[in-house]
Amino acid sequence: MQVDHNQSPKRRKDQPLEGVRVVDFTWVRAGPWAARWLATLGAEVIKVEWPENMDMLRLNRFTVPPGVEPGPNSTGQFADTNAGKLGLTVNVRHPKGLEAIKDLISVSDVVIENFSSRIMSRWGLGYEELRKIRPDVVYVSMAGFGQTGRQHYFGTMGPAAQALSGLTHLSGLPGEPPAGWGWSYLDDTGGMYGAMCALTALRHRNHTGQGQHVDLSQMITGITLTGSAFLDKTVNGRESRREGYPPGNRTVWPGAPVMNNYRGPIAAPHNAFRTLGGGYNDWCVIACLSDEEWTRLAGLLGSSGWAKDSKFATLEGRLEHQDEMDRCIEEWTATLGKYDLADVCQAAGVRAMPVQSSEDRVENDPQLRFRGMFTEVKHPMLGDWKFQGAPFRLDGNKVAVKGPPPMIGEHTAKIMGELLGVSREDLLQGYEDGVYWPETTPRFDYVQRAIGQEVER
């Protein structure tokens, strides 16, 4: 194994990626989410921005809490997506800015970006260029269609990538338009894959001393996530546009031919049901994956006796009489709150869970509360703010959100001065010349203070 970290900060083993430095050119969601996980695992992630072309999430007006002054440092969605990073503003289209970025990359382990394909190369920051200054650099690109292939220049955001990958078509009721995914699933997933690619290439580097370029495509990521739909086409020639497909929350739509929908085993009941209260998210789901599980549910359905009818005793029978069965089940579920219903079912060995809204997960989910899913961290604009933690625990390492997200350009002076040894004089000159902040954009107070300049009142 070859390891050379002379250029990296001193290694301490309290977080697994302690000592890894990441230059994060990403913006919006998928890329920043990738680098956010590297930060949560302990890497020093430096987010590179330019105020004239702001990360869209900094402008997301839907997540500025009431009473907070709107601005690029005030959005909740940016905060969670960029927690624990450092903020650098530098103009890579200025020769001195490009030089500064190259200096930074020469002492960094990972470069990650999610621009449209080949933008970085146009700036002189493509992989071939960067390996000259950092031969073992791990360079992760996250373009929608990738860096190669005839449509590499096609752009995507989550919903378009989901549509093109086949994921959207898998979601909905038969005979209706696709319901799709009510959020950018492939931005969340793209983020996970960005982090996975960086970690995987770091592992390769640790064992060979060799860096590399990882060319990830957000859209292609989604294709494999359709489960066995792909093989059903290439092996069985199955058409995707067919009767009863996709079958909503069921495994087979009533009356349609019995064939797999790529979620898992064929089962019935397998559906969403209304629960007591009748509110927008007063729903639960129930799935019986075997005849035994059905028998247990039938025991709960109790007094009316309909469930004991032998026509429901087998999967075949339950599929045949699915509408009637689901209707009768809902008469029962509508009498119970969704959490009570899940508890009653689970206690009897029946698979059931509540449909949980965002509010439910933050306020009402006893499991997430027990496991400490949310951590409060002080945020300069938002105050004590809840950040989402990691969905895993390592018993030998700490994994935690290290701090709030950076205010734009918050750490420029520190990074340029302390890490890259730029003199105070040159730094101030850079600010004057539009290298570290646009000449025509007013500087925030914290930027002024960081370079020892007067704050205007």
Binding site: S228, G248, N397
Partner: protein, 427 residues
């Protein structure tokens, strides 16, 4: 492209980035995708199944719709590049073999109910006693503790509890009284597998520098709960809960329609182009629409005022709806992309299989199934690693296919010992 064949091992051809990591996989639907990712990236993943094969082999679809444990396309999809052995760890002699295997492994990936393996004397502390570099990753529905720890789940149940369903569904104008919808594909387990992979790689990184292994506790519920993009941030910021909309982001407010029907019965998704336009892009779009006689009033000078553009999202959506109703899907999608609009056709496997762009990226991987005398096309890597390939080495293992190779050849059990294990039903 050369077909992936059963003879392909991590030692043949270019070396993947995870070369040298030996993984013992004892998991079905929960984390088999994590094992597949590791195997396709070069790890030596040995899938340990109970004698007779794992229950995931009974999940369809099946080759030619004939149910059989060696014909499950579901099993095939999730178990590429792995080797397979059978072992009954509920039997003492099976446990003994497992201990010997674990002494050779870098990672044990498992998804038994919390406490099950320790109950058999096969918990992390015991297995790592003589193998301090061992990493063990448990992927369970809710993690190793907490009030829901022992609750039974499924993909559907996680998408309900994790918040995916609360964000996905229909506008009431499209489908009145629609339930929340759980998107398909088995993605609760994919999400859990992705985070398990991230945690494992972090632990491998730590081990590279310290030699220390560790125990990892992954919760599928937490992984899903993290995967609804802005829903939590919107709630924390405003106290508002998102509402479901057809084919677009759930949001607390009304938002312009972005998924439109096309002339030929397809659907196109315009991301946010209907509401997030600049004046320059309105002009580009309007000129293209005008060349089809479908621009309506979009060439009007007033749309060169950003404030008017900002408040005209619903109107643009209406004009686009009419435009797409008169355009075939592919022409609309590719035409938009050529003008830099990040639109997407709603595709199915019917269009994806054979897509030339994907062919350019060698996404379609021929995989041999010699026992059937056939070769099938599998979905390949999402990323191209230029120094250490992500690739499918071979098809999923047959039941017990590598018993002799792994337990005999590599672990050194004699033929007599193997025969005894077979006789007692342990392999």
């Amino acid at each position: 492209m050369t077909a992936a064949t059963p003879g392909n091992g991590p030692g043949s051809g270019p070396v993947g980035p995870l070369a040298g990591v030996r993984v013992l996989e004892l998991t079905g639907e929960h984390a088999q995708f994590c094992g597949k990712l590791m195997a396709d990236l070069g790890a030596d993943v040995i899938k340990i199944e109970p004698p007779g094969g794992q229950e995931t082999r009974n999940v369809g679809p099946f080759l030619d719709d004939q149910p059989h444990p060696e014909r499950s396309l579901y099993f095939w999809h999730y178990n590429t590049s792995k080797r397979g052995v059978t072992l009954d760890i509920t039997k003492p002699e099976g446990r003994e073999v497992f201990r010997k295997l674990a002494a050779t492994a870098g990672l044990v990936l498992e998804s038994f109910p919390a406490g099950y393996l320790p109950g058999l004397g096969l918990g992390y502390e015991s297995l790592s006693e003589n193998n301090p570099g061992l990493i063990m990753c448990s992927v369970t529905p809710f993690g190793q503790d907490g009030p829901w720890r022992d609750y039974q789940t499924s993909d559907l149940l996680h998408l309900a509890a994790g918040g995916q369903m609360a964000s996905s569904g229909y506008d009431p104008e499209d489908v009145p009284d629609a339930p929340p919808i759980a998107p398909g594909g088995g993605n609760a387990w994919h999400i859990a597998s992705h985070y398990a992979y991230i945690a494992i790689l972090a632990a491998l990184y730590h081990r590279d520098f310290t030699g220390e292994g560790q125990y990892i506790d992954v919760s599928a519920h937490e992984a899903c709960s993290l995967t609804t993009e802005g829903a939590i941030a919107i709630y924390l910021s405003t106290g508002e809960v998102v509402r479901r909309h057809t084919g677009r982001h759930a949001s607390p407010d009304e938002s312009p329609v972005i998924q439109h029907a096309t002339k030929d019965g397809g659907y196109i998704n315009t991301t946010r182009s209907g509401s997030n336009l600049t004046t320059r892009r309105v002009k580009v779009l309007a000129e293209w629409m005008d060349s089809h006689g479908l621009a309506q009033d979009l060439l009007d000078e007033k749309y060169q005022d950003p404030a008017v553009v900002e408040e005209s999202g619903q109107h643009f959506a209406q004009v686009l709806k009419n435009f797409f109703a008169n355009m075939p899907l592919v022409e609309a999608y590719e035409g938009g992309q050529e003008l830099n609009f990040p639109w997407g056709a709603v595709r199915t496997m019917d269009e994806i299989v054979g897509d030339p762009h994907l062919e350019d990226r060698e996404f379609f991987v021929p995989v041999e199934h010699p026992e059937l005398g056939r070769e099938f096309t599998y979905p390949g890597p999402a990323a191209i690693y230029n120094a250490s390939p992500w690739r499918i080495y071979r098809r999923a293992p047959l039941i017990g296919e590598h018993n002799d190779e792994v337990l005999g050849g590599e672990l050194g059990l004699s033929k007599v010992e193997l025969a005894a294990l077979k006789k007692s039903g342990a392999i």
